[in-house]
Amino acid sequence: MSQARGLTAGLLIGPATMIVLGALVAPLALLARYSLNRYDRTNFMIEAFTPENYLRFLYDPFYTGVLWTTLWIALLTTALCLLLGFPIAYRLARSQSRWKSAGVLLVILPLFIGSTVRALGWMGMLGRGGLVDSAVAAASPGSSFPLLYTPFAVVLGILSINLPYMVLTLQSVIEGIDARVEEAADSLGADPSRRFLHVVLPLALPGLATGSVLVFILAMNAYATPLLLGGARFQMMAPMLFREYAVNNNWPFAAAIAFILMVTTLTLTAASSAFVQRRYKAA
């Protein structure tokens, strides 16, 4: 009986597993193979088995510098998403108002617009002669305040794209925390900050981790925003990877960059998950 059930289960998950293997694992395996090849402009790619693409990246301060820039931008935007997203998510989750769904819709609405279009909007806001610059010039004639093509513009752009993901994740987690737990803390005399630190925060920790991982991965892989808002002088991993792949046609090096980016992101994500799990168990 149980053997038959196991067989049925195997048959049921079989097709899905095959699709995942075919659509995810096979291309990754191919990419891994490419990353060990050698690039040659006339022959495009020469079959080889060499770690030189990885070594070229890891031993060159220029490339590792780009990785560091990507890391700090991703960490900063994740921290800002948490700081700004939590109050909004909390307010939405605990809201009894009939406007609650309108509030949720407002958070979701920016996701209907692609990141490239939003980056173009920011270019109009932050560029020379844009809204901010014009306002500054009107307030103090002769001065100019162009913010476009700065790390600030990139952080702002990524933040605006990632914030809804954080808010939506946190909102659903906070809604799952029983409001009576907070009321109990209140009735036992905890002030709001104590209630937050000792009751809400530990209970919301898995949600914080999920939201942070989500926006961190998105920021690490941001392409259109750094390219359009950061300009030619600001380099992050995804635009660099794309340039190697699609402009220089250097597929082996691009594949190596892709793996380095993926491994860095996965390692940090796994480390943070392990950390949160330990804390969660301790709490």
Binding site: R41, F62, V66, R128, L227, A232, R233, Q235, V247, N248
Partner: protein
């Protein structure tokens, strides 16, 4: 995008099969020149649309050549061509690429040699642009674009861009930086390919706070807003932005203009070479060439395609005719990867 799908009905396929079976017995059909299906690997957008309206429909349509466009970015299309190199029959008949990329393809032994026997209109090609592996389709000289409201004295040589009066106000397009390097080398040494000699000047130009743009269309708003006043760009761009109402004009460098050439060639394993040669001949027809000059502001590569009226006024090269310098693509290929690396690091400033 004008990618068209040619759906083949069952009857169509059966018909083709029957025709193929009968082919050995019909020598006059087998010899028939230039007919059937032709695949053109090209960029999308305006360029692809103009190929359709100036070459495919008016010239090749009546010859029963049905053109299908394979639209994509240049590196992706080139990668595809290289990947097919070992196939006796590829699936591309014409590849549109920038002249440096065409040179690389020819070096790799992928392109069919061309001559006037195959493409009679080749004899009208401007001599400075002519090669026997890729035919120039359109070209544009690199000029200095400047904002007419803020620049009274336009730059006349690349060295002017380095002068104090334009400090911080020069714009450079990241995607055509190699041509900027060649223009600077031409001004400094008289040889556009002497690129190593000009690195210190360009390093200063970048470190002086001049602006670089990743996307071509970011250049026009920067010229309008006063973020930049001048910059080296293709003449075609000036005309495009003038049409859009930006107050800009262009001036030609006295040392000569490096030219951008967009070319077409035939892969050695093209399935329909006869039609491909007919296509190349058609793209050099004056009417087809004028269509591109009119819409995109690129200059014709055929001496037969004289421009008239308003187009001629907008595009006319000044008198005396400026020196046009086509890059030495062999030398360019030898230094391109190294230049690329140098430029990335320079912009990064680390």
């Amino acid at each position: 995008m004008t990618e068209r799908h040619t759906g083949a009905s069952r009857r169509h396929i059966l018909g083709l099969g029957a025709a193929a079976a009968a082919l050995p017995f019909m020598p006059h059909v087998a010899r028939a020149q230039a007919g059937g299906r032709l695949v053109v690997s090209t960029w999308g957008g305006d360029y692809a649309n103009l190929l359709g309206s100036n070459i495919d429909k008016p010239i090749l349509g009546p010859k029963n050549i049905e053109v299908t466009q394979d639209v994509g970015t240049e590196p992706a299309r080139i990668a595809k061509l290289i990947a097919q190199r070992r196939l006796p029959r590829g699936n591309v008949d014409i590849i549109c690429a920038q002249a440096p990329a065409s040179y690389d393809l020819n070096e790799a032994g992928l392109l069919e040699p061309l001559d006037e026997g195959k493409v009679p209109n080749m004899r009208h090609i401007l001599p400075e642009l002519r090669t026997n592996y890729a035919l120039p389709h359109i070209f544009s000289p690199q000029i200095f674009i400047y904002n007419t409201e803020r620049v009274q004295q336009p730059p006349t040589t690349f060295n002017d861009l380095m002068a104090d009066r334009f400090k911080g106000k020069v714009g450079i397009l990241d995607n055509s930086f190699i041509y900027v390097v060649m223009a600077a080398a031409l001004a400094k040494t008289g040889d556009a390919m002497n690129v190593q000699a000009v690195k210190p000047e360009l390093e200063k130009l970048i470190r002086d706070g001049n602006k670089t743009y990743t996307v071509t269309d970011a250049f026009a708003p920067a010229l309008r807003s006063g973020e930049i006043d001048v910059g080296p760009v293709w003449q075609a761009r000036t005309i495009f932005w003038q049409k859009a109402g930006v107050a800009v004009k262009s001036s030609f460098p006295t040392e000569g203009s490096v030219v951008y050439v967009s070319s077409m060639s035939v892969p050695k394993n093209a399935p329909n070479k006869a039609a491909a040669f007919a296509y190349l001949n058609a793209m050099l027809e004056p009417a087809a060439q004028r269509g591109f000059a009119d819409s995109m502001g690129y200059l014709p590569t055929s001496s037969e395609a004289t421009l008239e009226g308003e187009v001629a006024q907008r595009l006319a090269l000044p008198e005396p005719r400026p020196k046009l310098v086509a890059p030495d693509y062999a030398k360019l290929a030898a230094v391109r990867d190294e230049l690329n690396d140098w430029w990335r690091r320079l912009l990064d400033g680390r």
